[in-house]
Symmetry: C2
Subunit: 236 residues, 2 copies
């Protein structure tokens, strides 16, 4: 594989899910002067709104967005996580079944392969400190081990970076606000739909992060939408 | 993820391509007393005969074979390798374009995820010494780095093993012969078809390995089939 630099910072593959963390990483990459190649994975997740968000953000920025169909993986994950199996109830609190086993390793491996094919010298992804508490594949030791495997496996000096790793989610919101991230285009909800449900664990985390950051939350949540509708109909 | 052992050796995910190396690893795993879960990746390779071989071998052994559709990856690889892009000529000698960048990391990551979902404590794959010369993701340092990433990323003691890593391809053939591998069911050719072409790099390696091993090669090669047909028609 040949890694070439172009622009002032070189090419960077940015793994984006459509959520606010990874979208912030994308704006961070552009801010650092990288030529960004956003890539999004469809692994059969219920919340396909996430993927539409990733596309919207990339299009607004005029970037060459790439969607990779990994929906064949859902068979593997079936029964192991409620994010892809509609038979498992989505809970408000963090719980074991939410974890897609070793998902980030799969996504990073494909991102490294993509980097090789387009001549990018780095891969960025959105793991942050609040994730790292619950997900072992969002921890610094893991990122470092994957980077080592990537360098040995490609025979290059490719780097894997998780620039949000020392930030809590509320600090990510603050960074995103500073970088001009269009939060209204991002998607966090574990459920699919027109608006965020407002009650799953991920919506709760999103709400709390904006609140703690002191940044206005532009998200429309189903529970609030429902309250407003009830009020308008004079039932409240 | 919970890893449970069953049988005398526990459960092992075995990555099989349908080729003779990985089929030998499958027989090796059974010989060691593992309960084997063969898994095969369809990443859009031209040689789909490989996948049919993997299925045949698994069925003959009565094992729960799993095919994972990663054909969405072919977009990523397009232009980077002649194994998935019909626009690149397949050459007789090893050449850069043959390398699917970082493929083994992708396959091993998915295999580790699968291991987590079925409670297997190890993943086996067929990298061997002759591969290691050309493919960085077939080298011992890479396997060790991936195993470290897998342990850190899953929070388990899962192991990744490449039991053929110190063997040349001819030694793999000898081991396979001892373990009763049905070589006639395995597929090595880079091209698709009813029989092996006999002239691509992979066919050349296969022929040479049997010859060096002193093991009878049961493979039907197109070039020989053509010679025989010509001879039968009295044209030879």
């Amino acid at each position: 594989m040949i890694f070439v630099d172009d622009g002032n910072g070189g090419r960077a593959v940015v793994v984006i899910s459509g959520g606010l963390d990874s979208t912030t990483v994308l704006y961070y990459a552009l801010d650092r002067g990288f030529t960004a190649y956003p890539i999004t994975f469809d692994y059969g997740q219920i919340a396909s709104a996430e993927i539409r968000s990733a596309e919207s953000v990339s299009k607004r920025l005029g970037l060459p967005w790439r969607r990779v169909d990994l929906s064949g993986l859902s068979d593997i994950y079936m029964g192991a996580t409620s994010l892809v199996d509609r038979g498992i109830e989505i809970t408000r609190e963090f719980s074991k079944p939410i974890v897609v086993p070793f998902r980030n390793a799969v996504l990073l491996s494909v991102a490294v392969a993509y980097a090789g094919s387009i001549g990018a010298s780095r891969v960025l992804y959105g793991a942050h400190a609040s994730d790292a508490e619950n997900y072992p594949d969002c921890r610094r030791e893991f990122v470092e081990a994957m980077e080592r495997a990537a360098r040995l496996g490609t025979g290059t000096e490719i780097s894997i970076e998780a620039p949000l790793l020392s930030l809590k989610k509320s600090e990510v919101v603050r960074l995103g606000a500073r970088l001009g991230v269009p939060f209204e285009l991002t998607w966090s909800c574990y459920r699919d739909g027109e608006v965020h449900c407002g009650s799953c664990e991920s919506c709760e985390n999103r709400k709390r992060a904006f609140l703690e950051a002191g940044v206005k939350d532009p998200t429309v949540y189903q529970d609030r939408a429902h309250q407003n509708a009830t009020r308008e109909r004079g039932e409240g």
